[in-house]
């Protein structure tokens, strides 16, 4: 009980109000994230509608298998994150730490594979800019595809890195025994954030990789 009362900030009347406020705050924040990715998606969609062939060509250059594996890894991380939240609610400290670390491992693996994928693109001269090489009459528009490919996946990647940072803090706090069944909203909210970032990927994957493959 003392844990929950020390964690209560002075502006709130009680822990319940604090929990509700923090949760609403996070949902509102996720709303802005939806709009951020929405803006980028809108740009992508406008070009895709204008240059369908070029975008299918560009999409064909991506490694579906590698990224399919990566998507699976990310879904696993969502599962372990959900289990971490559950452990926190049940007050199982050891399990909480294990699941958080697992989530971080999956997240890092995702970023690692992403880095491999990026390095392939560099080698294949598919990075937009002066070094871009693509033998096709649609080269210009294919470059537009890759501009959006990098803008979208990099923005997603930055969100992943932020998420990993959050998880790191959680592990540290969990080790110190900060979370109890009564007070675990940081785990809960970080979980929400992590799932949101995963869901963004679930949209990105078909949009970028599965285009025009039947």
């Amino acid at each position: 009980m003392s844990a929950s009362s020390t964690a209560l900030s002075h502006q709130f009347e009680d822990a319940e109000q604090q929990r509700e406020a923090v949760t609403l705050g996070l949902w509102t924040f996720l709303l802005t994230e939806v709009m951020l990715f929405g803006g980028l998606f809108a740009g992508y969609t406008a070009y895709r509608a204008a240059y369908p062939e070029a975008f299918i060509l560009g999409s064909g250059q991506l490694d579906v298998m590698l990224v399919g594996v990566n998507t699976a890894i990310l879904i696993c991380s969502s599962l372990t994150m959900a289990l971490a939240v559950r452990s926190a609610q049940l007050g199982k400290r050891q399990a909480l730490i294990v699941f958080l670390v697992l989530t971080m491992l999956f997240g890092s693996a995702f970023l690692g594979i992403k880095a491999v994928e990026y390095s392939h693109k560099f080698r294949e001269h598919l990075v937009p800019g002066p070094g871009f090489r693509f033998a096709s009459p649609h080269a210009g528009q294919v470059q537009l595809f890759f501009s959006f490919y990098f803008a979208l996946t990099a923005t997603h990647g930055v969100h992943m890195i932020v998420g990993l940072g959050l998880l790191g803090v959680l592990v540290y706090q969990a080790k110190k025994g900060r979370f109890t069944p009564a007070y675990n909203s940081p785990v809960d909210l970080s979980g929400l954030y992590w799932h949101f970032v995963d869901i963004v990927w679930i949209f990105l994957y078909p949009l970028l990789y599965l285009l025009g493959r039947h």
Partner: protein, 317 residues
């Protein structure tokens, strides 16, 4: 331009009067409501001024009827504005048949204009009185905007695509041409003059210089020099489709869609030939991006248009 203190620019095109009438209507509505609101504020402020610190007026919660009234009245008025403005805009956006085409290329910081007869001008445009003129415009660098206040026309000029505007001058004289979209250092000096001349004076002006080639003729020469004619043969037996009588027609594409062969499509096909390929032909045409200037593209298009006498009329429909 009126003496002393003008409130309207000159009306020098067929659409200027219509725009000014609409403007006058909006000014009248605005003046009415502004005066009404200022008068009400003053009247209430004075009539119900605080006379004693103990004044405590009775509350009025509101009146649904009144609120509906002053939502409905503005609604009706703005819908009139919308309808009037949109129909005028719609009408003004379509050039009449038989307009003469002027080709405009904007670049930092000048307007390069070419007459169909081939004559070029910079920052000046001579046009005949009483003949509709269509402007086909593009930019070599950033966005510009072709603005002639006396004609009440304005259209952005974009890199990588054609935009059009048209006018028919109703008054001879010299009128301002401005660039209205901010385009860099000398934006405010990127202007010039439109000279509206009597038709015979215009003809005289056109023939004033040594008879040069028309745009279509220059385009035809380019067409040969660039070896377009080896594939695009008039008999249709080449590796590319024939361009005879193609302008303004609908063309079947390799992907199954169709496209109207207008200026924008012809431009795209010269610069990015494989973006929209005609059905039944191989993707063998090289791109001419970087090899021809925007002005040369316009000249080639003028030539292709000259091969289709009915093209303009088809397009207008």
């Amino acid at each position: 331009m009126g003496e002393g203190f003008p409130l309207f620019p000159e009306q020098a095109s067929t659409i200027a009067e219509g725009v000014d009438q609409l403007y006058a209507f909006l000014v009248a509505v605005s003046v009415f409501f502004s005066v009404l609101i200022f008068a009400l504020i003053f009247y209430f402020a004075i009539r119900y001024r605080r006379r004693s610190d103990l004044d405590m007026p009775r509350p009025i919660h509101g009146s649904t009827a009144l609120e509906i009234f002053w939502s409905a009245v503005p609604f009706v008025i703005v819908m009139v504005m919308f309808g009037w403005g949109a129909s005028l805009y719609f009408k003004n956006s379509r050039p009449p048949e038989g307009a003469m085409d002027m080709h405009v290329v904007g670049k930092q910081w000048m307007w390069k204009i070419q007459h169909p007869e081939g004559r070029r001008e910079i920052n000046e445009l001579h046009v005949p009185l009483g003949r509709p003129v269509r402007l086909i415009m593009t930019s070599e660098d950033v966005i510009h905007s072709f603005y002639v206040p006396a004609f009440r026309i304005k259209m952005d000029v974009l890199p990588g695509r054609y935009t059009t505007a048209w006018f028919e001058a109703t008054k001879t004289g010299k009128f301002h041409l401005f660039c209205a979209e901010y385009c860099g250092n000398e934006h405010s000096r990127m202007g010039g003059a439109i000279h509206v001349m009597e038709p015979h004076a215009y003809d005289l002006w056109l023939s004033g210089v040594e008879a040069g080639e028309s745009m279509a003729e220059i385009g035809e020469r380019l067409f040969h020099d660039l070896r377009c004619d080896t594939c695009h043969r008039p008999d249709g037996g080449g590796r590319g489709p024939t361009l005879d009588d193609v302008f303004g027609r609908s063309v079947a594409l390799s992907g199954g869609e169709t496209v109207i062969a207008d200026e924008a499509y012809l431009r795209e096909s010269i610069l990015r030939p494989r973006a929209k390929r005609v059905a039944g032909f191989q993707p063998v045409m090289p791109t001419f991006q970087g090899q021809v200037s925007e002005e040369q593209v316009m000249e080639i298009i003028a030539y292709i248009k000259s091969l289709a006498s009915e093209g303009e009329r088809r397009l207008a429909r």
